[in-house]
Symmetry: C2
Subunit: 229 residues, 2 copies
Amino acid sequence: MGLGVSALPFTFVAHLLAVAAIVMVLFWNIHFRGGLAWEATNKNLIFNIHPVLMLIGLIIMGGEAIISYKALPLKKEIKKLIHLILHAIALVLGIVGICAAFKNHNESGIANMYSLHSWLGIGVISLYGIQWIFGFVMFFYPGGSESLRSQSIPWHVLFGLIVYVLALGTASLGFLEKLTFLESSAGVAKYGSEALLVNFTAIVTILFGTFVVLSSISSAPGEDDYSPI
Amino acid sequence: MGLGVSALPFTFVAHLLAVAAIVMVLFWNIHFRGGLAWEATNKNLIFNIHPVLMLIGLIIMGGEAIISYKALPLKKEIKKLIHLILHAIALVLGIVGICAAFKNHNESGIANMYSLHSWLGIGVISLYGIQWIFGFVMFFYPGGSESLRSQSIPWHVLFGLIVYVLALGTASLGFLEKLTFLESSAGVAKYGSEALLVNFTAIVTILFGTFVVLSSISSAPGEDDYSPI
């Protein structure tokens, strides 16, 4: 892979979109949906943790983890550690976010695991975990042989990008599913300000992910002892 | 781009998944949803044209158009013509499919263009059309200069893949949106056979798209005067 253009401008746009997405998802869940709580009599507040943590965790932190390995002007060993830690944070926030959805469903008597969003979500978090473990064992500790590492790096990148694009698709499904429920049973207006906010949050999320992918297939700023992509 | 492995095995898997997806979407709309019709007193039959044409058109024909340029053992000029015609068919079926959704909405008094699915759908069909026109003008007739063509081909491939992945995401949103309506207002069971069929059709569609993308970043079987990717 490699587009032959510099990754840096793409990463700057991605950071701006990340900030916008975080502000939008927080504003939606605090201003329109009543806030976040792990324990509450209003079970909706438990659910609200789900979109906030999935977006800030799996999508934004996961995207920043991808970008960091490409764009930071640091030694490979340090970049590797940052890449690993950011992906670990993304994974943990993602797992807690999924637990919040199950907790809300179980305490509210809502069925689990019937929708495409839930199926893909469980698939994505599992593949994300497998990819993290593979990356840790192969590239960090104990580490494969030099030839094994250079052979497996394009597959690590490709599989990572596929899982990340699946995560973006799953997030989009989640925005649409939640808004459809709100419009069909909670009286949220189809062209109202909340509906527009949720749809634009999804669009900003997709744009962020697009710039993350563009960064990852563009040229790194510095030289390295083997190309990361 | 280029994975360093042969594209052909990926294309065979993609063809099999395409057949499965076509059978599944037809079975869903004919057996479970009552069939297809352009004029009908039961307006749902008009809607049913939408998922069938979007899947068979934009997703399957569009995917086969991408694969064809990579995998067919033909001269470049012939492959280009096939690529162009298959994408034109995809685009026309997609436009007719979108018209069916609007026709159903207008005749049933359902609001248009409020959901993320509809927003992304209009975006995707517009970008698909722009990409087709760019491809026609630059690579077919009148054709850009040799240097302009070789400079723009990676961007044509990249933009095409981004639009195609967006189309796959939009299709997934459509499956989820329609099934959510059916489950919340038409009494379709959340774990029933129709729900499972629709979710698995979406999964097969995503897998098909994944193999199309894998084909397009793998190695072509023959040599050519410039690499298509």
